[in-house]
């Protein structure tokens, strides 16, 4: 995983609540067997309908998406987080996230930041009124600043460490092989096996 320490980038506002993962990346693009290349299909249907806010030149190259509550609800497709990363986003700021989307984001290097609704509304306002403002997101300091906006934020300490160091979570778990094997030896014999 690509480490996340400090990111400086343009803030793009998407002032909508309950943006589901079907909107982030529609199903016709889930048939690929690769992990990359989803960027061009991000918000595909909304982009196609014209005048989509993220397509405005001021937001080109944005690395921070600020949006409404319950972002990434619905399907578990990690392709949603991959498509945001592939399109250049490193952080999504919202009042809340779909549980699975949030978990996927942490695991693939996209930082989900939860801020109280009024702060999110303020950042959306700033990014809309002064298109192209940049913020610096410092994960170690848990701090966001820039464009007249400043706040600290909370984040799961475990995933903060993983992101800061770019750790491979599987490698961490494999170090606990002894404990896994011990647990396995206690499982009852009648539990189902697939063969």
């Amino acid at each position: 995983m690509q480490p996340f320490t400090r990111v400086t980038g343009i803030v793009a506002p998407l002032d909508r609540a309950n943006v589901d993962t079907d909107q982030i990346i529609p199903k016709q693009f889930l048939k690929r067997i690769e992990r990359s290349g989803y960027g061009p299909f991000l918000f595909y249907d909304w982009r196609r309908s014209g005048d989509f806010i993220l397509d405005r030149p001021e937001y080109r190259g944005a690395a921070v998406l600020v949006t409404g509550a319950n972002f990434g609800c619905g399907s578990s497709r990690e392709h949603a987080a991959w498509s945001l990363l592939d399109a250049g986003f490193r952080t999504v700021i919202a009042p809340s996230f779909g549980d699975i989307f949030k978990s996927n984001s942490f695991r693939c290097g996209l930082l989900p930041v939860e801020l109280p609704e009024p702060q999110v509304a303020e950042l959306i306002r700033l990014a809309t009124e002064k298109p192209g403002i940049e913020v610096i997101i410092d994960l170690a300091a848990q701090h966001i600043a820039g464009g007249g906006f400043e706040t600290s934020f909370g984040v799961d300490p475990f995933y903060r460490e993983c992101l800061l160091n770019g750790w491979d979570e599987i490698a961490l778990t494999l170090r606990q092989e002894g404990q896994i094997a011990r647990y396995e030896s206690t499982r009852p014999a009648w539990l189902p096996i697939s063969r």
Binding site: K31, S76, D99
Partner: protein, 456 residues
């Protein structure tokens, strides 16, 4: 109960870190797994427990014509799954297998889904398996890879929420309406961060199929997992299934399963109560599953910008009677509502009737077994005689990854779980309903109260 199962699966717990949990059953399908297998290979890792892993093809399989699929990219994805399963020794219920089907339909059918298990799958509707008193939730592809490599998953302990539904269900009101009624009440993010436990006399009175429908829709209320305490209904469903315990093991298992019930004094972080006697058949009018009203109602006035966007997308005016909304398509299928009981309920409405000339209607059984049993009962003949298309098993038009999709502007009465924009096809408009409601709409050509329909 969630806490008991959680504690039972802790491999390692460290202060400040998420718990490392053991996964009893990992269900795999063609769409969210290829990148996980690829990454394993790149890191020279193997699947730790292929014997606790089961694969099926469901998301993008064609529902007629078999393989090779005309869609070459889908075909490539299915071939990748076959190759990955062959290499790692994973049981695969691929297309053409007598037990193939939607992952959340075949797990229970095979008896693999059992009380007390921790079950995961790269699909958000994994909550379905909670109907058996299992802790089951959807995961992303990175987590799929983690489970393949370690058979474990790191998770923060979720909060708990009791959803109590009491009272007798009125005639014409199904488990689907219970689910839509719950989501209308708690909202699409009401369950976020929680495991839901469905309880109360209404839930106890549901069949396993009905409980699966309710648990299936849990994610639409924002919760990753929903569950029902196992009871005699659960045990009767499981007994004799191919992977259910046998003989002494069965007795041992039932003793264990009975200990899972939530303690009488257990506290929940949140509590919601619903009076089942006041539930009605629901219809969604918007673009998220919380935007639902009783079929006897009207399209509401928009309360938020989200509502306004939804109305514009759905091309509906506030105040329009739900029953006056004409439809073009009907889809009876999906992991929510494509089990034998669902098809029986729909067939009761369809028997002796004809699909409206302006409607194209299809039934997609949840699995090859459901299809075979339905055919043995003659349900296929009822649907076909009425003008329904009778297809092979798969996810089909629930998410439109295969050729079964809505055209732009087409309006569909669907027994699936999501009415998101474009979910069933770009520009398509979805109204979520129960199987009997979908069947009635197919015949009249518009959304209709199935209770009135049966009376006439």
């Amino acid at each position: 109960m969630a806490a008991k199962i959680w504690d039972d699966h802790i491999v390692a717990a460290h202060e400040g870190e998420p718990d490392l949990l053991y996964v009893d059953l990992h269900l795999v399908h063609e769409v969210t797994s290829p990148q996980a297998f690829e990454s394993l290979r790149m890191n020279n890792r193997r699947v730790r427990r292929p014997d606790l892993t089961v694969a099926t093809m469901d998301h993008d399989v064609p529902t007629r014509g078999g393989r090779p699929a005309a869609d070459q990219i889908a075909e490539r994805q299915m071939s990748a799954l076959e190759e990955n399963c062959r290499r790692e020794g994973i049981a695969l219920y691929g297309m053409g297998h007598a037990r193939q089907g939607i992952v959340h339909v075949i797990g229970p059918e095979l008896g693999l889904t059992q009380p007390g298990l921790l079950i995961v799958c790269g699909d958000s509707h994994t909550s379905t398996h909670g109907a058996f008193g299992a802790l089951a939730f959807g995961i992303g592809t990175s987590e799929v890879e983690h489970v393949l490599a370690t058979q474990c998953l790191r998770q923060r302990r979720p909060k708990t929420m009791a959803v109590t539904v009491d009272g007798a269900l009125p005639l014409g009101v199904t488990a689907k309406d219970v689910a839509l009624g719950i989501i209308a009440r708690i909202g699409v993010e009401g369950g976020r961060g929680h495991v839901l436990e469905y309880r109360g006399s209404t839930i106890r009175g549901l069949s396993m199929e009905g409980r699966m429908t309710v648990c299936n829709m849990t994610i639409e209320g924002g919760a990753r997992a929903g569950m029902v305490v196992p009871d005699e209904t659960t045990f009767a469903y499981l007994k004799g299934r191919p992977h259910a315990p046998r003989g002494e093991h069965w007795d041992e298992a039932v003793v264990r399963w009975k200990t899972l019930a939530t303690d009488a004094d257990a506290a929940f972080d949140k509590d919601v109560s619903i009076d089942a006697t006041r539930l009605e058949p629901y219809v969604t009018w918007g673009t998220n599953p919380g935007q639902a009203v009783p079929v006897t109602g009207s399209v509401p006035n928009p309360a938020t910008e989200t509502d306004e966007r939804a109305l514009a997308y759905m091309a509906l005016e506030p105040g329009t009677k739900i029953e006056s909304i004409a439809i073009d398509r009907v889809f009876i299928g999906s992991c929510t509502n494509a089990r034998l009981e669902d098809l029986r309920l729909a067939a009761t409405v369809v028997r002796g009737q004809t699909v409206h000339p302006k409607v194209r209607a299809m039934v997609v059984p949840g699995s090859a077994s459901v299809k075979q049993q339905a055919e043995a009962e003659g349900l296929d003949a009822i649907f076909k005689a009425a003008g329904f298309e009778w297809r092979d098993a798969g996810c089909s038009m629930c998410l439109g990854m295969n050729p079964d999709i809505l055209g732009p502007g087409e309006r569909c009465a669907s027994t699936s779980n999501r009415n998101f924009e474009g979910r069933q096809g770009a520009g398509g408009r979805t109204h979520l309903v129960s199987p009997p409601m979908a069947a009635a709409a197919a015949i009249t050509g518009h959304l209709v109260d199935v209770r009135e329909f049966s009376r006439n």
